[in-house]
């Protein structure tokens, strides 16, 4: 029981990070029907900007008070990463908007390679470590088994990650449901041309969608950095694929679906590692995706495509 609870907490933490990245995939897919394969690398850039900012603030400028440092880091990371997301859309996707469906997909893969190599060249290929910043936690339970005592711990790091995710999700849900921008995004999702004829600046709405996705990916990047303590130029690939899987599992195009999918993928991975083998955790996650898609082709919360007559 204690073991299960601990794995549940770990799974939710990892799932939160996947969920935040998955939102970027799902929103972009929703509005322009394209899979932005460079999104995982935007997440990676978010992690790198966070690391750089951390080092500048603590080692160079000598700030010591962690909450302030974290706040500055997250804001700077969001701004920088958003700028990257905006630029990628502007130079690589917008010119191809009128083109055939596969063109932006191929560019996205190209963009992903470009970003990875750019970071590899400028930052080096070696892993970058960050010493643990947030330590300690709350002991929830203690139990003993034949193997010894098991402690269920909820670390402060995990609390921060889960709380931040909940807050960001709440803000985003409000944004989509209540603001004119969210309404315009939903309108563009359904009929871009018509939205334009009602005075919605479609290009700007799409750009803002990329910016929002990138900002969330930056937060996920910072969380990843704090949780694992090491990053390299390649982390965006696997995290990106996982988050994409999460978005598809939850029903691509659906915001709550992305979050649910992220949590599920995180949980599956952690439980599989905990109860079976660590080696096959990715296989388990992708197998579940395959099984779900056989029975629910539009994902868990996705709307089935209705054929118009």
């Amino acid at each position: 029981m204690e073991y299960f609870l601990q794995q549940l907490i770990n799974g939710l933490t990892l799932g939160s990070i996947y969920g935040l990245i998955a939102i970027g995939y799902t929103m972009v897919y929703g509005i322009i029907g394209m899979i932005n394969f460079a999104h995982g690398d935007i997440f990676m850039i978010g992690a790198f900007v966070s690391l750089a900012m951390f080092l500048v603030l603590t080692a160079v400028l000598g700030f010591a008070f962690l909450p302030v440092v974290l706040l500055i880091v997250v804001i700077v990371a969001m701004l920088f990463t958003s700028a990257w997301g905006w630029t990628v859309e502007r130079i690589a996707y917008r010119p191809l908007r009128g083109s055939f469906r596969l063109a932006p997909l191929i560019t996205a893969i190209g963009m992903s390679i470009v970003l990875q190599n750019f970071v590899q060249i400028t930052q080096g290929a070696r892993v970058k470590p960050l010493p643990p910043q947030i330590q300690g936690g709350i002991t929830l339970m203690q139990g003993s088994t034949e193997a010894g005592t098991i402690v269920v711990q909820l670390s402060y790091m995990q609390i921060i990650i889960i709380l931040t995710t909940v807050v960001l999700m709440a803000i985003f849900t409000l944004l989509i449901a209540r603001t004119p921008l969210g309404r315009a995004q939903r309108a563009c999702e359904q009929d871009r041309k018509m939205a334009a004829l009602l005075g919605v600046n479609v290009d700007r709405t799409i750009s803002l969608t990329f910016v929002m996705g990138a900002a969330l990916a930056a937060v996920a990047g910072l969380m990843f950095l704090l949780l694992y303590g090491v990053i390299d130029f390649y982390i965006g690939f696997l995290a990106g694929i996982k988050a994409f899987t999460a978005a598809v599992l939850g029903g691509i195009g659906s915001l709550p679906g992305a979050m649910l999918g992220g949590l599920l993928i995180g949980l599956i991975e952690v439980f599989w590692s905990g109860y079976f083998t660590v080696e096959y955790k990715d296989v388990a996650a992708f197998s579940i995706l395959a099984i779900v898609l056989i029975f629910l082709p539009s994902g868990l919360l996705g709307k089935p495509e209705v054929e118009k007559v």
Binding site: R178, P180, R183, A196, L197, L198, G199, V200
Partner: protein
């Protein structure tokens, strides 16, 4: 009524309102698709406060004209001038044309060269709204939300570019309330108030047509372009549409440009009719003039082949097609 004022010579003479006070001028508009000339050197004016009908047989290029006016297509050649404020403002039009600007606005007056503007600016700045022949509502959103999307631009400003909207600041709440009131006004006008919270896709066909018009009106247009608004309506709904369009013209002072096949609707409500055939204008004037114009009768009912086709390109196309089909001359009855 407004429409009756200032129209001493409704037969299309120089003093007709669409000549002296046009809200929209289409000048030498040409639209080619590869070798096909959909619209060839078309010029016409739509008067301020008038209901102007664009009619013609199928394939005459009416929808193409609409698509050029609303920024759907970039015309191959020609100028499309939208005017805010009275008169032709000829000097300003020339000034804007030569300056390379897209539009110029001073107070209530404004000149907008639609062929230079992207579609969202045409709706937002030039205040031209349109509906489609095949209904294009946001089916997954409620009727009310459809009308709120149409008020996107004022709401974005009021929401402090989104930030205020998330936190529900008072100023934004107020603006949103005003937007909802306007939406409710149009929902009442179009008898849709009971269905305000239903997804637009669930409404019956006639109601969807009315909702499209309501949505277009929520953008505060000066010119409302309707592409076959009466298509698929039963006689009662069609009569209701006539009333709605007259209401829009008389009470809101919105000029209307419409494409319509239902001659009952056209003849009853139009102040001015422009007839197209094969992409060129064959007649222009009030209902009486157009009804008696031999060209119009010929286009609609067909005449002997030789007289009927007098445009070289069309003649070529038709004879080529006829040659392929091996059936002699192509008629267009």
């Amino acid at each position: 009524m407004v429409a009756a004022a200032g129209k001493e010579a409704p037969t299309g003479g120089a003093s007709a309102r669409w000549e002296s006070d046009p809200i929209l001028s289409v000048e030498h508009l040409t639209m080619r698709f590869g070798g096909l000339v959909a619209v060839g050197d078309l010029s016409f004016n739509a008067g301020r406060g008038d209901i102007t009908a664009l009619i013609g047989p199928n394939g005459a290029g009416k929808t193409t004209v609409f698509n050029c006016v609303t920024g759907f297509y970039k015309p191959t050649e020609g100028r499309i001038v939208m005017r805010h404020g009275p008169g032709r403002q000829a000097e300003t039009v020339e000034e804007v044309t030569n300056s390379g600007l897209r539009w110029k606005k001073e107070g209530d007056k404004g000149i907008f060269l639609l062929e230079r503007m992207p579609d969202h600016e045409i709706a937002h700045r030039a205040k031209v709204a349109r509906t489609f022949q095949n209904i294009r509502l946001f089916g997954g959103m409620t009727a009310l939300e459809n009308l709120l999307v149409a008020q996107h631009n004022p709401l974005v400003v009021a929401s402090g570019f989104t930030v205020g909207g998330i936190f529900g600041l008072p100023s934004y709440r107020k603006a949103e309330q005003a937007a909802i009131e306007k939406a409710v006004y149009w929902l009442e006008r179009t008898r849709l108030i009971d269905r305000a919270d239903d997804p637009a896709a669930d409404l019956p066909y006639g109601a969807q047509r009315r909702l499209e018009i309501a949505r277009a009106m929520c953008t505060d247009p000066q010119l409302l372009c309707l592409d076959e608004p009466a298509a698929g309506l039963n006689p009662r709904e069609s009569a209701e549409l006539n009333e709605l369009l007259k209401f829009i013209r008389d009470e809101h002072g919105t000029s209307v440009l419409l494409i319509e096949h239902d001659m009952g609707v056209v003849m009853e409500i139009s102040d001015h009719i422009v007839v197209l055939d094969y992409g060129v204008k064959i007649s222009d004037g009030d209902a009486e003039t157009v009804r008696n114009d031999p060209n119009v009768i010929a286009a609609y009912l067909g005449v002997e082949e030789e007289e009927e086709i007098d445009i070289p390109e069309v003649l070529e196309d038709v004879s080529a097609a006829a040659g392929k089909a091996g059936t002699g001359k192509g008629g267009k009855a």
